[in-house]
């Protein structure tokens, strides 16, 4: 395990949040799970601003992003992250309630890393979350860049 950066879960629906957390809990990942309840909050956390200014944790290992969110929606969050030079390497998995093709196309256009339609079946849902967690938080080798909280090391001569 290269690092134990947190997983950012962005989900407005409390029931989905609870179920997703339950699924993640069962995945027995060591990563801390940070939650955001809307797009604006997620962006504040990601860009370490507002209430999250000076937070300790580094960039997330993965962002599990619900597509439909109040205020700033999932696609806008995705766009903001992928446009940012520092954050664009953070993997984003879009979670959505339905497999509406236009959403999928838009997400991929904006550079989403994966797109998951939340299965109705809990076992499948559980497995999907587990797979995502396993892949992005553990197996995926993150882009070799400094954690946001760590000052850049200057190589001395």
């Amino acid at each position: 395990m290269s690092n134990i950066n947190p997983i950012l879960l962005v989900e407005d629906n409390p029931k989905d949040l609870e179920l997703t957390l339950a699924a993640l809990e069962r995945s027995q990942l060591a990563n801390e799970v940070v939650t955001a309840r809307d797009g604006a909050e997620a962006l504040d956390w990601l860009f370490a601003r507002g209430p999250h200014e000076g937070r300790n944790s580094g960039d997330p290992a993965v962002v599990l992003l619900d597509l439909k969110l109040p205020k700033v929606d999932g696609l806008q969050v995705l766009e903001a992250v992928k446009r940012d030079a520092d954050l664009k390497h953070v993997p984003i998995v879009m979670l959505t309630a339905s497999k509406e093709e236009s959403d999928l196309v838009k997400s991929y256009q904006l550079g989403v890393n994966a797109f998951v339609v939340k299965p109705v079946d809990f076992k499948e849902f559980f497995k999907a979350i587990q797979d995502i967690g396993m892949f992005w938080a553990i197996l995926n080798e993150p882009h070799p860049m400094r954690p946001r909280s760590t000052p850049m090391k200057v190589t001395e001569a």
């Binding site: 029931k15 989905d16 339950a22 439909k68 959505t96 939340k118 109705v120 809990f122």
Partner: protein, 747 residues
């Protein structure tokens, strides 16, 4: 000249066309002529004055007419000139005089440059007054006659009764100056020419011009010896004397030859001028030389004018009546069209009306690539090439007509016997859609008044009508009767009406399309929110029920476990239903992107996704060679998925089971099928099979929302294909779908 060859005739016609017939320099010998200046000095005289008037030209020339002929006549002419009765260029009968032993009718007119005085030998006593009762009853009769045919027939009778000619014909010009004998009155001395047609060249342009300006001409004897004028040229102008309005004017030798060839040495013609235009002639012939007294000629001229007025009036009222008839036909056609989905279907059932609208023999209806032929038309391929020509070369013309299609587009080589004339109207600027009416070659429409060959007389060498007819054929080959203004108007009016209908239908369609687009958008929004918002609670129910199961405390209670399982299962299938519904609605909304699909590969792929369902089953898959086809990959995948999972599902009770996937390549479509040996179905319910939420089995026996086959049907129909099934209860089922080889692009 008795064996006048056709080439000679043509040469003669050409010469004739160039001949300055109004300046012949001579007169016919049935009278004498003097030409005066406006001071009444005699400038020219005909060479026969000595024998007719007893005064030689030489004694008269240079004198005034009073000095030459005596006071009385000279004074009268002067008076007439002063009262300008002579100035209107028509010859006036001044009086009758006796000079020596002969009686003369004295006629005079002023052609602007010269006063022409003619002394015509009177053939008989009599006066205009004596024929007045006849003329009056003629006028009374003719006013009662409604048809031009009857008017001309009565006119021919009247002129023959007045003049005693052997044959009097009424000759009508068409717009190209070809003529037809439309009425005739005759005795047996001369053959009938009724209904015969004559080419325009028979009466050249300058002759027609004279017919217009001078309404009556008489040639008493075609064998006459012309009498020259003395001097030959006008001494003041040194030019030839204009004899346009002269009664005695000498006529063209070609014309005289023509008369001799026809065996008619005497002829007279009276112009029928309708609204100032030369409509036709009353043409009189006699088998022997014949003179007609000037008062009788005046009576005949009067008959001609009355006939012309009546024809003018009848033509106008006929045109009005014809317009009414056309309108009535058009209304009937429109009513038929309104009842049909497009104008072609509407017109197709109304052949008679469609043809009678413009008096055509055949008609072609064209709408995009559809062509319908009715009546006498050229073959389909020729009609198609004609339409293509119109579409490319005459695209901007809404109405197009010709009486000679073969000379307009010789390269198309369209059959002249059916399509010498066409009248085409265009229904659309965007698509090639036309109505094209056809008229046959006119020679085929000639109504012979008896077999013309029987009138041929080889013995006498007369120019027989058959030969004349050959000339006519030569002139008019590939010509149809001309389209009248009323007919062209009727075609155009129908065109406008159809365009109106088509436009209105297009507007209605556009409105429907707009409405459809709007409701599609609504449906899209609806299904989107349904899939999001309806799916979530089901997911929550399933999720929390699962969690509840695991939190313990109810493990012991088997019944509670079963309830929870039921909740999970119910929510699960409700969620599945939402997914299926969304999928189904997407089938209708998504754009098709056809690509060439390797069907074998797609089926293999689909089979792999079914491994969950087939685990532990003994299924023998028999997959044949499936022909590749152009279709939308996503859609086809879903169709195969539904069909194959269906087959797996319904063979569950059969062990081992065989599922066969095959293909039947046809010419225009490829049929694919999935055949299983499962539970099958009763063919009575085959129609319900592909309906949305139609199930033929109890829900507890076979899972699924019942939308799978509806999905297949929708996919296939989006590809303009067909889907059907065969089955037998307990024996298995075969599901077929056929896709067209050439998928038309979506509108």
């Amino acid at each position: 000249m008795s064996n006048l060859e056709q080439t000679d005739l043509l040469t003669a016609e050409e010469n004739c066309a160039r001949e300055p017939i109004q300046f012949p320099g001579s007169i016919q010998p049935t009278g004498a002529l003097l030409s005066l200046d406006h001071a009444f000095n005699i400038l020219q005289a005909s060479a026969n004055t000595t024998e007719l008037l007893g005064l030689s030209p030489d004694t008269m020339l240079g004198k005034t007419i009073q000095d030459a002929l005596g006071l009385e006549l000279g004074e009268q002419i002067q008076q007439e000139l002063v009262s300008s009765r002579l100035a209107n260029s028509s010859t006036a009968l001044l009086r009758s005089v006796v000079i020596g032993e002969s009686r003369f009718d004295v006629l005079a007119h002023d052609n602007g440059a010269r006063i022409i005085v003619e002394f015509e030998l009177s053939s008989a006593e009599g006066s205009l007054d004596s024929v007045y009762p006849d003329l009056r009853s003629f006028i009374e009769m003719i006013q009662e006659l409604p048809e031009i045919e009857r008017i001309t027939a009565v006119a021919a009778e009247e002129v023959r009764a007045l003049t005693g000619f052997d044959r009097v014909m009424v000759y009508q010009f068409d717009k190209d100056w070809n003529g037809t004998v439309v009425a005739e009155s005759r005795n047996e001395r001369l053959p009938s020419y009724l209904d015969l047609r004559f080419p325009a060249a028979d009466i050249p342009a300058q002759a027609r011009a004279l017919y217009r300006s001078n309404r009556l001409r008489l040639i008493p004897d075609a064998d006459y010896v012309p009498v020259p004028l003395v001097p030959a040229f006008d001494p003041l102008t040194t030019g030839p004397l204009d004899l346009s309005f002269s009664a005695l004017r000498s006529v063209s030798p070609v014309h005289l030859q023509y008369m001799r060839n026809m065996g008619t040495p005497a002829s007279m013609s009276i112009s029928i001028l309708v609204d100032g235009e030369l409509w036709g002639l009353i043409s009189c012939h006699h088998a022997e030389p014949r003179r007609v007294a000037s008062h009788m000629r005046t009576a005949c001229d009067f008959v001609g004018q009355v006939v012309a007025m009546q024809i003018g009036a009848r033509s106008r009222s006929m045109a009005a009546a014809e317009r009414v008839v056309k309108h009535r036909i058009e209304s009937r056609l429109l009513a038929r069209m309104a009842a049909e989905p497009d104008f072609i279907s509407g017109l197709h059932v109304a052949e008679e009306e469609l043809l009678s609208l413009v008096n055509a023999d055949g008609v072609a209806l064209l709408l995009d690539q559809r062509i319908m032929l009715m009546g006498k038309t050229p073959p389909l391929a020729q009609v198609r090439s004609l339409a293509n020509w119109i579409a490319t070369e005459r695209a901007d013309q809404e109405v197009l007509w010709t009486e000679s299609l073969s000379s307009l587009v010789p390269q198309l080589q369209i059959a002249t016997e059916t399509a010498s004339g066409i009248l085409a109207v265009s229904m659309s600027k965007l698509h090639p859609s036309y109505i094209i009416w056809f008229r046959p070659e006119v020679v085929q429409t000639v109504r012979w008044g008896g077999d013309p060959r029987k009138t041929a007389d080889a013995e006498t060498g007369r120019l027989n009508p058959r030969k004349s007819f050959e000339t006519w054929k030569e002139t008019v080959s590939g010509q149809s009767l001309s389209w009248s203004a009323t007919q062209i108007d009727a075609a155009n009016s129908l065109r406008q009406a159809i365009v109106g209908i088509v436009m209105r239908k297009a507007e209605e369609m556009a409105a429907v399309t707009d409405e459809l687009r709007r409701s599609n958008k609504e449906l899209e929004a609806f299904s989107y929110s349904v899939s999001h918002d309806l799916r979530a609670p089901f997911r929550h129910i399933v999720g929390f029920a699962e969690l509840l199961k695991e939190t313990g405390g109810i493990e012991a209670d088997a019944r509670a476990q079963r309830y929870i399982d039921t909740i999970i299962e119910a929510a699960h299938s409700a969620g599945q239903l939402v997914d299926d519904l969304l999928g189904f609605s997407q089938m209708g909304r998504s754009q098709l992107t056809p690509v060439l699909i390797d069907m074998n590969k797609l089926v293999e792929e689909t089979l792999r996704t079914l491994h969950m369902d087939t685990e532990g089953r003994k299924i023998e898959w028999k997959v044949g060679r499936l022909e590749p086809i152009s279709a939308d990959l996503t859609f086809m995948r879903s169709a195969w998925q539904n069909l194959l999972s269906n087959a797996v599902k319904y063979t569950r009770g059969t062990d081992p089971s065989t599922i066969e996937i095959g293909c039947d390549p046809g010419e225009n479509e490829v049929t694919y099928y999935v055949k299983d040996d499962g539970v099958g179905f009763n063919m009575d319910y085959v129609d319900k099979l592909f309906g949305v939420f139609q199930r033929l089995h109890r829900i507890e026996d076979y899972e699924g929302s019942g939308i799978g086959l509806a999905n297949v049907k929708r996919v296939v129909e989006r590809h303009q294909g067909r889907v059907w099934a065969e089955g037998e209860l307990g024996k298995g089922a075969t599901f077929f779908f056929a896709l067209p080889r050439n998928l038309a692009s979506e509108a």
